[in-house]
C-alpha cells in the first residue's frame, strides 16, 4: 500500500480530461450524462468515482473502467487506513 497521501481522483480527472482536452466542466458533465453538480463534486473531491461513473468515464474519455476504479480504490484505502484501529486483530494461520 502506498505510504503517501494519494491525490483524490478528481485531480487526475481535472488534469487529464478537462485541462488536457480544454473542455469546460459543464460540457464534460453533459458528455458524461450527469449533472454539472455531480461532476463538479467529483472534480473537487466531494464525491468519488462510483462504478457507474467509471463506466461513463471509460466510454467518454477512454481507459478501462477498472483503471478508473483502481484510482478510487487507492484513495479509499488510504482514507480507511487513517480512521481505523486494527492493532487488536491477529493473523489467523493455516491449520
Amino acid at each position: 500500500m502506498r505510504m503517501y497521501n494519494p491525490p483524490h481522483p478528481g485531480e487526475i480527472i481535472k488534469d487529464f480530461c478537462i485541462e488536457a482536452l480544454d473542455l469546460t466542466v459543464t460540457d464534460a458533465a453533459k458528455s458524461l450524462g450527469v449533472t454539472r453538480k455531480t461532476f463538479s463534486a467529483l472534480l473537487n473531491g466531494r464525491s468519488g468515482i462510483s462504478p457507474e461513473m467509471a463506466l461513463r468515464l471509460s466510454k467518454v474519455f477512454g481507459r478501462s473502467p477498472e483503471g478508473w476504479l483502481k484510482l478510487q480504490l487507492q484513495y479509499d484505502l488510504w482514507k480507511a487506513q487513517q480512521g481505523i484501529d486494527l492493532k487488536s486483530l491477529k493473523r489467523i494461520k493455516a491449520a
Copy 2:
C-alpha cells in the same frame, strides 16, 4: 472487462477463509472485529467488501487490501454494467 458473471466476493471468502481453515462464521467474525451479522451478510452476498473490511481481511487472513477490494471492484463493475444504458454517450477525442 469480464464477460461472465463474477462470483460475489463472499463465495471466495467462504472458500478460502472459512472452509479452508475450518473456521466457524462466529469465530471468524470475532477475529475480524465485526459482528456475526455483518460477516454473515458479506459471506452470503448481501453486502460487499468495504475498504475497512478489506483492511480487516488483509490483517487477519493475509493478501493485500487492494487484492480484496479488486475482487469487489470486478463484481460491482459487472453489476453496474447490467443496470445502466450508456449507448448515448460519445467518446471525446483529443483536440
